[in-house]
Symmetry: C2
Subunit: 224 residues, 2 copies
């Protein structure tokens, strides 16, 4: 902490507005907060640069357009979540008898871990909820790029456990699952009102287990 | 169509930029499209007024702030959906033996009807998806105001059919249901990719029945 590294200057890099070696991470961190709080349209590169302690030229040098910056933010933690899903699936499949509940829990848990990992993780979860509500083709492409490879492995594994359900229907039901868990991740406050104030906020791990129970029953329902 | 009614001027109404008696509806219609396409932050009152063929002063006279206009848009069709839910619940409860599937279908169907009612209904569904992804307290209050009265009646009715599930848990599971159906309503495109192009878009009524099957199984799962 007390020893400062000299920033490494690549040839052609513009004179930086900062001498932090981690300016790139600082920009991503601040962009994450701004996009989460204000949405894509509401966030400004000027604000993000100011908060990150860099000038806008450096921000643009590193990340290009606002859309490129958003994509970099989404890929950073989205990639961590998708990677963790792969790892937990490998672990579940190594068990003697994996169940639908085991696979559903493995799929959901990385999002819960991210939300609870700190303010940056929580900001990413909020930003992700906005991306999933965006109708634009670009947002859909981005989600697919980041999440579909691990999701497809889960669909395959679940299909193996659910031989009476056509694979297409397993895929459709996984989309139902994604909708349900994203909504709950982002929106725990709604619950207290629905139950007329008789429950307080459900602890995150209990919520995860309630979702696992509900969604596994849905996946196991006989095909129409 | 060929006979024009004289616009009725209330005392104190400012000189209108239009003589359409339905300027109020035209503003709501155009606001609905703009908010759906650009989000709250991205929509501009100037654009909305121009598209509605009125001046901004009239828009502000009728609706006040941008937030007030948004709320009026949300209440208009949200109120229709909530009202239709009440009606379909009354009808389901009048049956000899209502089932969980009957109640789930009655809850979901008004949203499907709205989406398929035309471009305005489809715009409302898109706008609603954005509202549900908004973290702001105001958005949550608006959703509660519009949807919770009918939702609470469904929770009561489902609790009557599910005596082994605590009412709080029925309420929690209804939140899972809301997340799943909103996601599917807004986001049918994702499916084709998950199944690697082997299915085309699922017809809306089939999607509704698949959701009813999945969500009813989840509601019926034994409590943890």
């Amino acid at each position: 902490m007390s020893q400062k590294q000299e920033p490494r200057r690549k040839p052609g890099r513009p004179k930086a507005g900062t001498d932090q070696p981690d300016a790139r991470d600082a920009i991503l961190d601040q962009a994450e907060f701004c996009f989460a709080a204000a949405g894509f349209a509401g966030a400004s590169l000027r604000d993000i640069a100011t908060r990150a302690g860099v000038n806008q030229a450096l921000l643009r040098y590193y990340f290009g357009s606002k859309q490129d910056l958003f994509d970099a933010v989404f890929r950073r933690r989205g990639g961590m979540i998708s990677g963790r899903r792969h790892v937990l699936l490998d672990r579940a499949l190594a068990e003697a008898e994996p169940t639908v509940e085991t696979l559903v829990r493995a799929y959901l848990r990385p999002q819960w871990e991210m939300k609870q990992s700190g303010p940056g993780g929580a900001a990413f979860i909020a930003l992700q909820a906005r991306v999933h509500a965006e109708p634009e083709a670009h947002a859909l492409d981005l989600r697919r790029e980041v999440y579909d490879p691990s999701l497809k492995r889960y669909i395959d594994a679940l299909s193996g456990l659910l031989p009476a359900i056509p694979r297409d229907l397993v895929a459709t039901r996984m989309a139902f699952l994604v909708g349900a868990y994203l909504f709950m991740l982002n929106d725990l406050g709604r619950l207290a009102d629905l139950s007329e104030g008789q429950i307080r906020e459900i602890p995150p791990d209990d919520m995860l287990e309630q979702l696992v129970r509900f969604l596994s029953a849905g996946l196991l329902a006989p095909a129409i």
